[in-house]
Amino acid sequence: MAQKKTYALPNVTTPGTPVIFHPEVCNGCNHCVEVCQVDVYIPNPEKGKPPVILHPDECWYCGCCVNDCPRPGSITFNWPVQQRAYWKDKATGKVLRDSQ
């Protein structure tokens, strides 16, 4: 296993990752930083990179950051495990879940 420095950090805020950024698509325009009602994000210190998720505990999953993103594919939702939906195939009766 590769050696990685271990810091003394508090627990990661839960839920900690309301969205996932895709740096290969995102060009760091920060539009999501602007449309977010509660300032979940701050701009990345490195220009052109995806924003930093600073206040994930304040996210209310309104969706504006993803819906209004000018480069679709840059951000995807990441529902907390306990909030993922269940459904059932009418023909087979098999119960399914959002397991992305």
Binding site: K4, K5, Y7, L9, V12, T13, T14, P15, G16, T17, F21, P23, E34, V35, C36, Q37, V38, D39, I42, P43, N44, P45, E46, K49, P50, P51, V52, I53, L54, H55, D57, E58, C59, W60, Y61, C62, G63, C64, V66, N67, D68, T76, F77, W79, P80, Q82, Q83, R84, A85, Y86, W87, K88, D89, K90, A91, L96, R97, D98, S99, Q100
Partner: protein
Amino acid sequence: MTRWHDFIEKDGKPPAWPYPINYDREQEIETDVLVIGGGIAGCWAAISAARKGVRVALVEKGDSIRSGAGGPGCDHWCNAPANPLSNVDPDEWAEHMAEPPYSNGIGIQIQCREDWDTLVEMEQIGGKIRDTKDEFTGAKGRDEKSKLMISPRYTKVHSYIPGSQKPITFKSNPEGKLNNVVIRVWGSTFKPALKKECKRLGVKIYDRVMVTSLLTEKGVQGARVIGATGLNNRTGEFMIFKSKAAVLATAGDWSLYVLNTELAGYNTFRSRNQTGDGVAMAWRAGAALTVMERTGIMMLGTGYKHTWYGGAGDASYENVPIVDANGKRLPWPTQGWEDAGAMRPTPEDMEKIIKGVQSGEYTLPFYGDFPAMAEVERRVTWNMMLGEESTTKNIIDSYGKGGFDPARHLLQNYNFIEGTSPSQWRSAGGGPVVDWDLKSTLDGLYVAGEQSYSAGDHSYAASTGRYAGRKAAEFSRQAGDAKVLKDQVTLEKARVYAPIKRSDGIDWKELHAGIARAMQYFCSEYKTESLLKMGLDALKEIEEVFVPRLYAIDPHKLMRSLEDLSLLNHGQIILNASLARKASSRMLNFFRIDFPKVDPPDWNKFVTVKLENGKVKAGELPLDYCGNMKANYEAHNKDYASVYKGK
């Protein structure tokens, strides 16, 4: 590198605060009309005031492009009886709506008369209100000619629960045609269009600024409102707004009773920002408030329940039949054409369902049978409504990516299996007393949207905002200049910055939970004089002992800390209002053990509370203080110009 701890692990240090820190800077802005809150009501107030030709400043805690409960979207334009497809008279519909005690007859009358005009103006500025691309041809309620789409909601009775209101025959609709008062809209297009129009009209927009207090003439409590103070929640800069009239269009208080500040955000309809700052600052300025004693458990989100709208049978799942795990149809309303949009089973049906679950007649969990629906209705419900309602587009998108196909799959319903809601999430339904100009009891202060008492929804916020904006503009034309008292600003500055001057103590989350706990203990289902007084003592202790320990590490957390102080005030107001009402009331969801008689005639009145020289003063108003709604509306709006025709 998008999470905070990524930076620690890579660089060994957190990222620097990305905005300039300007705690010591101060900015002064002079305007005619100051709009506090840039949600739906606030944007409409700013637009209508600017169209009257006065200078307007709009101040918003988030960014007015998407802020507010209606910022992400809206799928139902409710109670629009003046629309061309309606079969009822707006005044008669308003009267019917205002029938339940403690309604806001003034706001309702404005909504019923003007929200169709407001919607037409919404279309003028770029909002989508018709099926112009013919995507839903053949859907029930869609009018071929106008391409407007009527929703089944309120088509027969104005109620979410069938049987809860007796069916009435409207004089204006003697044949009992469908009322057609609710219009489906593409509300995700609204908020950006509103901001664009504000900019086009020259409204000065101050985003990311939290208004912290109202300034009054000579700094006197109860005197004319002549401005406000604010805090930039990114830079920490202090703002002083001087105005001739102000419109309070802030949000309601949605988190006072919520203990947990982490889970509360899960898709609740209301964001963390909504902390009732407006009511708190109006209270401190001396405005009379009413209906503050009404609180009630909301069966929504909070992380303790499933994602609101995430399960079949939730609000707005129109025309979806609910079946049990074996596909057996339940007597659960479809919220559709067959049951006039009813959302909840009647009490009798609910009992049948519960008994059926216990006896094994119905097997859990229940499901929404989307595949059984007509294809076009399924698209209207799943794609259009969920695509446009406040926070739900992410549901169709995420579920779709996860493989959900409404043509093949039954969507799970979470009733019963997730248990009873913890008594954590409450709405408080009160706000400033208003007159027919939507003016509060303070000169120069107007009130709109959710901040008004017994407020309605999106179209209510839009139409009352638009109305308050034009009334405030008229007032500002004749109002004289007033001098801001320096001491009032100095005192407020000291209050605002106290938490960043400390380096240790308790953070906003701990204080928030402390306030919530006090409210849960002393102002919940079981109310008595002594418990309510203990509640006031508990909040006083928090104010005197723990507030002086509150500390914040950046402008964002400083804003959250100040919101706690709003919530603390809010709790004090609710407790004082609860002490003033010495009777129980079903309509107010207000039950006192020491005054068990429910709605005794003597107490069928509004209770009001206000601060006078720092002392709480209770008062009352007759339930029908708004008088004849139609006559008063007309008397106060002789020059109303209907839909805007200017450029």
